[in-house]
Amino acid sequence: MPRRSSSTRLWVLKRLTVVSLALTTGGSAAPAFAQWLQWGGPNRDFSCNATGLADKWPEGGPPTIWSSAIGPGHSSVVVDGDTLYTMCRRDEKDAVLAYNAKTGELVWEKQYDAPIREPVLTGFPLSPHSTPLVVGERIFTVGGMTEFHCLNKKTGEILWSHDLMKELGTSHVRRGYGASPIAYQDMVILNTGPNRGQDGPGLTAFKQDTGEVVWKSETFGGGYTSPILAEFNGEDHLIVALGADRIGLDPSTGKIRWRTQVDFQSYGIMATPLWIAPDKLFCSAGYGGGARLFKIGLNDEGEYAVEELWHYLKMQVTHGTVARIGDVVYGCHEGSFAPAFLMAIDLKTGKPLWRKRGFAKANVLHADGKLIILDEEGTLALATATPEGLEVHSKVKVLERLSWTAPTLVGTTLYLRDHHTIKALDLRAAGDS
């Protein structure tokens, strides 16, 4: 039976949602609203309430505010006031990096040993894929080889650590751990799933201040997908797509509230689930999985029940991001190394509305009525996406292959990185200051 306790989610959101810090911009494009504290932004859905973006960019692309060197990594950027955080690889070590968000100057770098743990698949960087989480004075990070750290965000001092593989049997899924932590109340919650067929908690919650384990969930399949939080039926749900499981848990205890399983083909790399309030969940899996819409409800006994409303095979988002505008989800069908298509799918019917060639595998971000697209070739685009089609206003190459890192937008500043460079671009409309 579901608990009917009052939601504590607001407490979390207050800490993670965009707030005005009234920074002095000094004429640069440094953001006035300066927080993006976790994977996916304020609501973990790659949509944000930024305004004042240009409708079109200059021919050479949006102005570069700064550009700095960085090492390999797919870890995306989080921004807290005037500091941004991300991760990269330094030979046999992982590094957590803090940069000045306005100038690109490196504030501190904390390296720790992270030797390769076999078996790994070579050919693609095994560098940190997970995105840091900032809560209060702490920053939480997970390296590619599953080293979990809590650091002082001002100094980079490591406050406490866990070796997830050693302590909990967590898998790095052979390509390097990729899920990003999420905060709930005084906890930080992580995917800690083991290799398929082995035992170990699918998710684990740790106390933010001490690192003490608060709860461990049942075993689920491993995976790269990051969990999200949603509110339904007056309760908070920790939602995650792992292996063939699509699961909602009580984030206070790790107990399963609801669970459904999809076909084994959808076991592969998956996009972060997208909550469609008040009661639906969009999931997409690459490598033959496809997109699904689930409805979460209550059965006659008052128990949670999950119904699959539709499954459309040919929207396979592997590790890219998706964005929802109204009743349409926009994202990139990545087609198992076949040419990618940016596409729109109608949430009501599960039917594709359009497809567009011309981009490689891409991440999308929605803000100010526009879609910002970054493909793996490093091509950045500004577009308007509607159910009728995609109008691309500007398109410019800004990074190198493989640019898999999802973009971060804070105010009108876009933060991007590849394996060599991290940069801030000014997306303001001309004349704005």
Binding site: F124, G288, A338, P339
Partner: protein
């Protein structure tokens, strides 16, 4: 072929939509892309739906069979490149195949007997020098029937209409075919990535219609083929054969490497192949990895008939110079050149050096280096006995 499932479900006859689509196809077979392993697909074809590239190199794509009372021969080919376009989602009543075309390099047709191959490629037959490729252009589809559905796999029978051009002769064909769509699964991953389309069918062609007539004085019907049977098995994928999956190789480098191999292997044209290779080598003179790949392909790529060891040596020696003779992958290639030259002692010397530099090497390279070292050591030992 085992994967081709014929379902016995009730047949659903789809309306015949054929030739209206013919107008969508232009009247020429598109040229090869820069890499040579795909065709340049016209923009209007890209707009029609999902592109399935014919996947060369994975199996026998064509068996060309001829038989007389006193002679029987089969030539095969696995280097056909081309594409078919299908709707993204085949709705009921919709034709499952919209446009398509392919190119077949004459030099890649092989009967497995050098004498036959020489005749087949020679001026009296297919005349490889003047007409290096056989082409096919789809002009329409008729008689479409749904024959099966199993999970995400869908099968049809149909007649594929098209024009086959051999030398300067074009013949119109109606080929009964079986078509299967097999979306990517963990099972098909063994074959490669992408969603699959498989076209399987056969037809007969009068050889005189494609300009293949018996040589003068050799018109004995017991010894000369009159009809050729073409048996196609075209495995296609949404992933292009030219898709570069290697982060450390630029797309341009990858295409050039493919082009080099295509000229040598598919067209058996060492003159053009090594001319292109020399240009590529000059452009890559300071890029050890590119030079190493060039040499390694020259030495090992399956199907290359003329391996220029001096060319490979020049490329890999420069790669070795650039890496200070400390790169296991490069040294492994260098040793292989000596081995192919028959200089076993030198091969062993460089292979040992490769084995000394395995720290941090890719596991695949490590395996290659060690197994080659064992082989060379065994052969040197044997030669000393």
């Amino acid at each position: 072929m085992a994967s081709f499932v014929r379902e016995s479900r009730a047949l659903l006859t789809l309306p015949v939509l054929l030739a209206g689509l013919t107008c969508l196809a232009d009247d020429k077979v598109p040229p090869r892309s820069d890499g040579g392993q795909a065709l340049v697909i016209p923009a209007e074809h890209l707009e029609l739906g999902e592109v399935y590239h014919i996947t060369p190199g994975t199996g026998t794509q064509l068996m060309w069979h001829g038989e007389t009372p006193l002679l029987r021969a089969t030539a095969t080919c696995n280097r056909i490149v081309g594409y078919f376009v299908a709707p993204f989602d085949v709705e009921e009543g919709q034709t499952p195949l919209l446009v398509g075309a392919f190119r077949l390099p004459v030099a890649s047709l092989s009967a497995g007997i050098a004498q036959y191959d020489g005749q087949l490629h020679g001026p009296q037959a297919l005349n490889k020098a003047a007409y290096p490729e056989i082409t096919f252009r789809m002009t329409g589809v008729t008689d479409v029937k749904t024959t099966g559905e199993e999970g995400t796999r869908q099968s049809y029978t149909l007649k594929l209409a098209g024009e086959l051009t051999v030398k300067d002769k074009t013949v119109t064909l109606q080929i009964p075919m079986q078509l299967t769509f097999q979306p990517f699964t963990w099972g098909t991953m063994q074959l490669g990535m992408g969603d699959r389309l498989i076209l399987r069918g056969r037809c007969e062609v009068k050889l005189a219609d494609i300009g293949l007539v018996p040589q003068q004085g050799r018109s004995d019907p017991d010894m000369n083929f009159q009809v050729g049977e073409f048996d196609f098995y075209l495995l296609c994928s949404t992933m292009s054969p030219e898709r570069n999956l290697y982060p450390d190789i630029t797309h341009e480098q990858y295409r050039k490497q493919l082009r080099f191999v295509t000229l040598l292997r598919d067209f058996d044209d060492p003159e053009k192949g090594y001319e292109f290779g020399r240009t590529f080598m000059r452009e890559s003179w300071d890029d050890a990895k590119a030079l190493n790949r060039l040499a390694w392909a020259t030495l090992t790529e399956d199907g290359i008939k003329t391996r220029d060891l001096a060319f490979a040596m020049k490329a890999v020696q420069r790669a070795s110079e650039l890496t200070g003779s400390k790169d296991a992958d490069v040294l492994n290639t260098l040793a292989r050149v000596y081995y192919e030259k028959g200089e076993l002692e030198a091969a062993l010397k460089w292979q040992r050096q490769a084995a000394e530099h395995l720290e941090g090497a890719d596991p695949q390279v490590t395996g290659q280096v060690r197994s080659a070292l064992e082989r060379y050591e065994a052969q040197v030992k044997k030669s000393q006995e």
